[in-house]
């Protein structure tokens, strides 16, 4: 596959595409870095100039910064936990033959197509509302009181919304992985005297490692930047209870109109994301090989 002919021809032909790709990705990044060192508030057109690290300083020393970091992590871990564990269980269930398998698959898949905004609105108003929400109605039917989801467990509520949207993704990847398991392996384990549980632990779960890795990787990428759900429901509150990093950046750059600080926040978010990605790749990257 590799004569100089094909290599150089290949590089030549591909280089424009890669260049476009790189420019596309570098330009916003470079501009963000540039702005992060500038004084730039939309509402003060005449205050401009080099700001040094002031933007970074103020962003990091903001009392909301630390909670935002922790909440970001909690959100990612919470959703990952629900979707992978739930996904595995669901995949095991859906892998059994039963009547209407195709339809149930469609039902389970559906939340993946729902816009985050719609999902958040629907959960907030029609389900989690402590007075008119469906959960409250159900609680009342059993003589309880409506639980104030967004007031009392705001982050958990957001985790539930996000997990609902990503559960289908996890389930279907894991289901596909499960279906690719060589039947003979299960039978071999059966011959070897493995119980159902042992088969799950020793055969099925290891077989799914790679798929689980992909689920974790892709979801982390998307969940690290969750923002619409928070915007629609809690706005990061009460207090800082459901504030995450992207939302803090949003507050700085859009609510405060402070472009410089927003850019600094963006740069910090990228750095942190890369650190997470780095550890993620370290920890699970080898599962992605071959």
């Amino acid at each position: 596959m590799a004569t100089e002919h094909s290599k150089s021809a290949g590089r030549l032909m591909v280089s424009p595409a890669v260049a476009v790709l790189l420019i596309w990705m570098i330009v916003p990044l470079a501009m963000t870095i540039w702005f992060s060192f500038q004084q730039y508030n939309l509402l003060y057109p005449d205050r401009t100039g080099f700001a040094g690290i002031e933007n970074y300083y103020y962003f990091i020393t903001d009392f909301r910064f630390q909670p935002a970091i922790w909440n970001t992590l909690r959100l990612v871990l919470g959703v990952l936990a629900i979707t992978t564990i739930g996904g595995i269980l669901l995949a095991l269930l859906l892998d059994q033959p039963f009547w209407g398998q195709g339809i149930v698959r469609l039902l389970v898949l559906a939340p993946f197509f729902v816009m985050p905004t719609v999902s958040a609105l629907v959960w907030q108003n029609m389900f989690m509302d402590p007075v008119n929400g469906l959960f409250a109605h159900i609680a009342k039917a059993f003589g309880g009181d409506g639980y104030d989801f967004l007031g009392q467990s705001p982050l958990m509520s957001i985790i539930i919304m996000v997990a609902w949207q990503w559960l289908p993704f996890a389930t279907l990847i894991l289901l596909t992985a499960l279906q690719s398991l060589d039947r003979e392996q299960i039978e071999a384990a059966e011959m070897d005297g493995a119980s159902v549980w042992s088969r799950f632990i020793y055969i099925i779960l290891p077989h799914m490692t790679r798929a689980i890795t992909v689920v974790i990787l892709i979801q982390t990428i998307f969940i690290l930047s969750v923002y619409a759900e928070i915007l629609v429901t809690t706005n990061g509150g009460p207090g800082t209870a459901s504030l995450n990093l992207p939302f803090l950046v949003y507050l700085a750059s859009i609510v405060d109109n402070d472009v410089g600080m927003g850019a600094a926040g963006g740069v910090i978010a990228i750095i942190l994301a890369n650190i997470v990605a780095f550890f993620l790749m370290r920890a699970i990257g080898k599962n992605l090989e071959h």
Binding site: A188, S195, S198, T209
Partner: protein, 332 residues
């Protein structure tokens, strides 16, 4: 230990009957090979014995105990799968130890037994590799190791060699045969390669569409095939079949003659023809001759003969080695 009896065993998948009522007796210590064309039910039969499929009717007895409804793990049999079904995420050691671990054996005992099995199969050095890092033959050995280690009443093999290349196949074939001679455990072996069947079996069971066409020792089948199906299945290169006038002359609908029983002459003989391809193996020569009387006939000549594409030759079947079959294909 290792006496298996099938009586009136039937297997249906939905409406389709794959195995019609079938009786079979496998004696202790016997090496039984199931052969037959693809889809004839070999694997199904094996899986019924293993307990991986339920019988639709009939009963299976293992060492005098009715095992028809026992789960696979309780039957005391070990199976080597066509794909080997090694656990890819476990080292060879863990693969082999797995059945022991499932049986709740202590780690020391496990290690001891794994070592012993590895010794038998000569793969002490491979114990810490993973299946992905092994060659086909090595994988095969691990699969066998996993079977041996349980000291089963019988081994079941489902086409274990079909994924290997020709050279390796020969080696592994010998290894399994030797293993059998050493362990003297009952072995049931599925293949569709008749060379394997011939060289390994104490008893060959020829299956066709779920029915047993003939069962017996390899030489019995080679010498006295009950019908054309068996005759064409056993022996390599395949038996030559001739119908028409030639067969009529022998008072049969079809006659068969094996390549090794055809003599070739450059001067005379009953069947005249031209050489198509001559394959020179050094030890033998396979000559494919297009004859007028009998169609294309393959002759196997020991050693080296000097024939080329297009040469005219004469063929003579050895008269006492001619098999005669009636219109239904049954041997006369």
């Amino acid at each position: 230990m290792g006496q298996i009896t099938l009586s009136k065993v039937v297997k249906q998948f939905g409406e389709v009957t794959v195995i019609p009522p079938l009786d079979l007796e496998i004696n202790e210590g016997e090496f039984v090979v199931f052969v037959g064309p693809s889809g004839c039910g070999k694997s199904t039969l094996l899986r019924l014995i293993a307990g991986l499929e339920d019988t639709s009717a009939g009963s299976i007895t293992i060492d005098g105990v009715n095992a028809t409804d026992l789960p696979p793990a309780k039957r005391g049999l070990a199976m080597v799968f066509q794909s080997y079904a090694l656990y890819p995420h476990m080292t060879v050691r863990k693969n082999i130890a797995f059945p022991l671990k499932m049986a709740g054996m202590s780690p020391e005992e496990q290690e001891k037994r794994v070592k012993a099995a590895a010794g038998v199969l000569n793969m002490n050095k491979l114990l810490d590799r993973r299946p992905g890092q092994l060659s086909g033959g090595q994988r095969q050995r691990v699969a066998i190791g996993r079977a041996i280690v349980r000291e089963p009443k019988a081994f079941l093999f489902d086409e274990p060699l079909s994924n290997l290349d020709a050279a390796l196949r020969m080696g592994m074939r010998l290894e399994i045969t030797e293993l059998h001679q050493r362990l003297k455990t009952t072995m049931i072996y599925v293949t569709h390669d008749q060379v394997e069947a011939m060289t390994m079996a104490d008893k060959i069971v020829v299956l066709n569409a779920g029915r047993i066409e003939q069962a017996g020792s390899p030489l019995e089948l080679y010498k006295n095939p009950k019908n054309i199906f068996v005759a064409s299945f056993i022996g390599s290169p395949k038996m030559n079949f001739v119908g028409g006038q030639v067969a009529k002359y022998h008072n049969a609908a079809t006659i068969g003659v094996r390549p090794e029983h055809v003599m070739l002459s450059t001067s005379s003989g009953p069947w005249k023809g031209t050489v198509g391809v001559a394959e020179h193996l050094g030890s033998d020569t396979f000559v494919h001759v297009n004859t007028e009387e009998a169609g294309t006939i393959t002759a196997r000549i020991s050693g080296e003969v000097v024939v080329k594409h297009g040469d005219t030759v004469w063929l003579t079947p050895m008269p006492d080695k001619i098999y005669r079959f009636d219109a239904e294909g049954v041997a006369i």
